[in-house]
C-alpha cells in the first residue's frame, strides 16, 4: 500500500470533477491534513489505553479523490507522502483563467472542467472571473496567451461592417 502511494506522484493523480479551482485543491489539502491529525491523535490515544474511536468522516470530494486514485490513508507515512504530493499538486497544477460575462454556476463549471481535462490537460483547474462588458462568451488566459472568445471581441472585429453601413446611409 505504502509502496503504491510512493510510486504515485502528483502528476499521476486523477483530480475529481468536484475540484474545479485551485482553491478546491487547497481545500482538499487542508482536509487531508485534518484527517491526518485526527488519525494520528486517535492512534496515540489507543496506545495510551483509550478506546478505539470511529474513523473521521471525509467529504465526498476527498472520498472520490482517494477512490479514483486508489489511495489508502491508514498508515501515518502514507498520509504524510500523500500530503506532500497534494501540496506539490496545489503548486504545480495548471491553471486556466476564465472570465465570463455572467456569474458561473457550479454545474457549468464542472461541465467546462470536464471538457478541459479531456481535451486540454487532465489536471487542469480554472480561476473564475466576471466581466459583464464581455456580453457573452469567455475571456480565456493561459500561462502564456490570451484568447478572447467573447461577443465583445466579435463586435469589435465586425466594427468595419457597421461603419460601412453608416457610410452607406450617409450616401
Amino acid at each position: 500500500m505504502t509502496e503504491e502511494v510512493k510510486a504515485k506522484t502528483y502528476a499521476d493523480f486523477v483530480i475529481p470533477s468536484g475540484v474545479v479551482t485551485r482553491i478546491d485543491v487547497a481545500h482538499l489539502l487542508s482536509e487531508l491534513e485534518w484527517v491526518d491529525n485526527e488519525l494520528t491523535t486517535a492512534t496515540v490515544r489507543v496506545k495510551a489505553g483509550a478506546e478505539q474511536q470511529a474513523k473521521p468522516s471525509v467529504s465526498g470530494v476527498l472520498e472520490e479523490f482517494l477512490t479514483s486514485n486508489d489511495l489508502k490513508i491508514d498508515s501515518s507515512s502514507a498520509r504524510s507522502d500523500l500530503i506532500k504530493q497534494v501540496r506539490l499538486l496545489k503548486d504545480k497544477v495548471p491553471v486556466i483563467h476564465m472570465t465570463f460575462a455572467v456569474t458561473a454556476d457550479q454545474e457549468s463549471l464542472q461541465e467546462l472542467i470536464a471538457w478541459l481535462r479531456t481535451s486540454i490537460h487532465p489536471q487542469a483547474v480554472i480561476s473564475v472571473g466576471i466581466q459583464p462588458a464581455l456580453v457573452a462568451g469567455v475571456y480565456l488566459r493561459t500561462p502564456n496567451h490570451v484568447h478572447d472568445l467573447s461577443m465583445r471581441a466579435v463586435l469589435k472585429k465586425s466594427r468595419g461592417i457597421l461603419t460601412k453601413e453608416l457610410e452607406a446611409l450617409r450616401g
Binding site: 495548471p94 486556466i96 465570463f100 460575462a101 455572467v102 456569474t103 458561473a104 454556476d105 454545474e107 457549468s108 461541465e111 467546462l112 471538457w115 481535451s119 486540454i120 490537460h121 487542469a124 459583464p132 462588458a133 456580453v135 457573452a136 462568451g137 469567455v138 480565456l140 493561459t142 500561462p143 502564456n144 496567451h145 484568447h147 472568445l149 461577443m151 465583445r152 463586435l155 469589435k156 466594427r159 457597421l162 461603419t163 453608416l166 457610410e167 450617409r170
Partner: protein, 274 residues
C-alpha cells in the same frame, strides 16, 4: 574756739548801743520800717516821674515849635534862593536859545547860498556836458549814417551780383529737378508695374490658399465624419452590449464557449505545454 566762746569780755558803749538797738529794732519793727520806706520811696519815685514827664512834654513841645519855625524859615530861604537860580537859568537858557537860533539862521543862509552856487555850477557843467555829448552824438550819427550808406551801396552791389549768381544756380537746380522728376516718374511707373505684378501674384496666392483651405475643410469634414462613424459604431456596440448583457446565463452560453474553445483547442494545448 568752742572753749573760748563763752569768755566774758568787757562791753564797749558801742556794743552796748548795738545790743540796745538790736533789742529795740527787732525783726518785726524792721519789717514795718522797710515797708514804710518802700511805700515812701515809691511815692517819691512816682511824683518825680510825673514831674519829669511834665517837664519832658513841655520841652518836647517847645523843641517842636522851634524846629518847625526853623524848618519853615530854612525852606523859605531855600525856595527864594532856588527861585533866583531858576530865573537865572531861564535867562541863560533863553539867551543861549536866541544865540543858537541866530546861528542856525546864519548857517541856513550860508548853506542855501552855497547850494545855489553849487546848483548853478552843476547846471553849467551839465549844460556843457550835454552840449559836448550832443556834438559827439551828432558826429557819430553822421559817421554811422555815412557808414550805413556805404554799406548799403556795397550791399546793393553784392546783391546785384548775388542775384545774378543765384539766378544761374536756380536755373541749374531747376534743370536738375526736371531731370530728377523725370527719373521719379519713371521710377513711379516701375513701382506701379511691380505693384500690379505683386497684386496679381497675391491674387493668385489668394486663389491657391482658397482652394487649399477648401480642400482642408473637406478633409477635416471627412475626418470628422469618419470619427463620428467610428464613435457611432462604438455607441451601437455599447448599446448592443447593454441590451444583450443580461440575456444569457452561462449554461446557455456553454455550448458556444465549448465550441469556440474547441476551435482554439490546439493553441490552448500548445500554451499549456509551454
Amino acid at each position: 574756739m568752742g572753749l573760748f566762746q563763752h569768755k566774758q569780755h568787757p562791753k564797749t558803749p558801742s556794743d552796748m548801743a548795738a545790743d540796745a538797738a538790736s533789742q529795740a529794732f527787732d525783726d518785726t519793727f524792721r519789717e514795718e520800717l522797710r515797708q514804710q520806706a518802700k511805700l515812701y520811696f515809691e511815692r517819691i519815685i512816682g511824683e518825680s516821674a510825673a514831674l519829669f514827664r511834665h517837664d519832658l512834654d513841655e520841652t518836647i513841645d517847645q523843641v517842636r515849635s522851634e524846629l518847625k519855625t526853623h524848618v519853615v524859615k530854612q525852606l523859605d530861604e531855600q525856595l527864594v534862593e532856588s527861585g533866583k537860580i531858576m530865573k537865572d537859568a531861564q535867562a541863560l537858557a533863553l539867551q543861549s536859545l536866541n544865540t543858537s537860533e541866530q546861528e542856525l539862521i546864519k548857517q541856513r543862509q550860508e548853506l542855501s547860498a552855497t547850494l545855489k552856487s553849487n546848483i548853478i555850477k552843476e547846471e553849467e557843467m551839465l549844460i556843457g556836458v550835454v552840449k559836448d555829448t550832443q556834438t559827439l552824438a551828432v558826429g557819430s550819427l553822421n559817421r554811422v549814417s555815412k557808414e550805413l550808406e556805404e554799406k548799403y551801396q556795397s550791399l546793393a552791389t553784392t546783391l546785384q551780383t548775388n542775384v545774378g549768381t543765384v539766378e544761374k544756380e536756380l536755373v541749374d537746380v531747376f534743370k536738375d529737378n526736371m531731370t530728377k522728376i523725370a527719373e521719379m516718374r519713371q521710377a513711379q511707373r516701375f513701382a506701379l508695374e511691380s505693384l500690379t505684378k505683386n497684386a496679381q501674384l497675391l491674387e493668385q496666392q489668394y486663389q491657391q490658399l482658397g482652394s487649399a483651405l477648401q480642400q482642408k475643410v473637406v478633409e477635416q469634414e471627412n475626418m470628422l465624419v469618419g470619427a463620428f462613424q467610428e464613435n457611432m459604431a462604438v455607441v451601437v456596440e455599447h448599446y448592443l452590449l447593454g441590451a444583450l448583457g443580461d440575456q444569457f446565463d452561462l449554461k446557455a452560453q456553454l455550448p458556444l464557449i465549448i465550441q469556440q474553445m474547441e476551435a482554439n483547442k490546439e493553441n490552448i494545448v500548445g500554451d499549456m505545454k509551454l
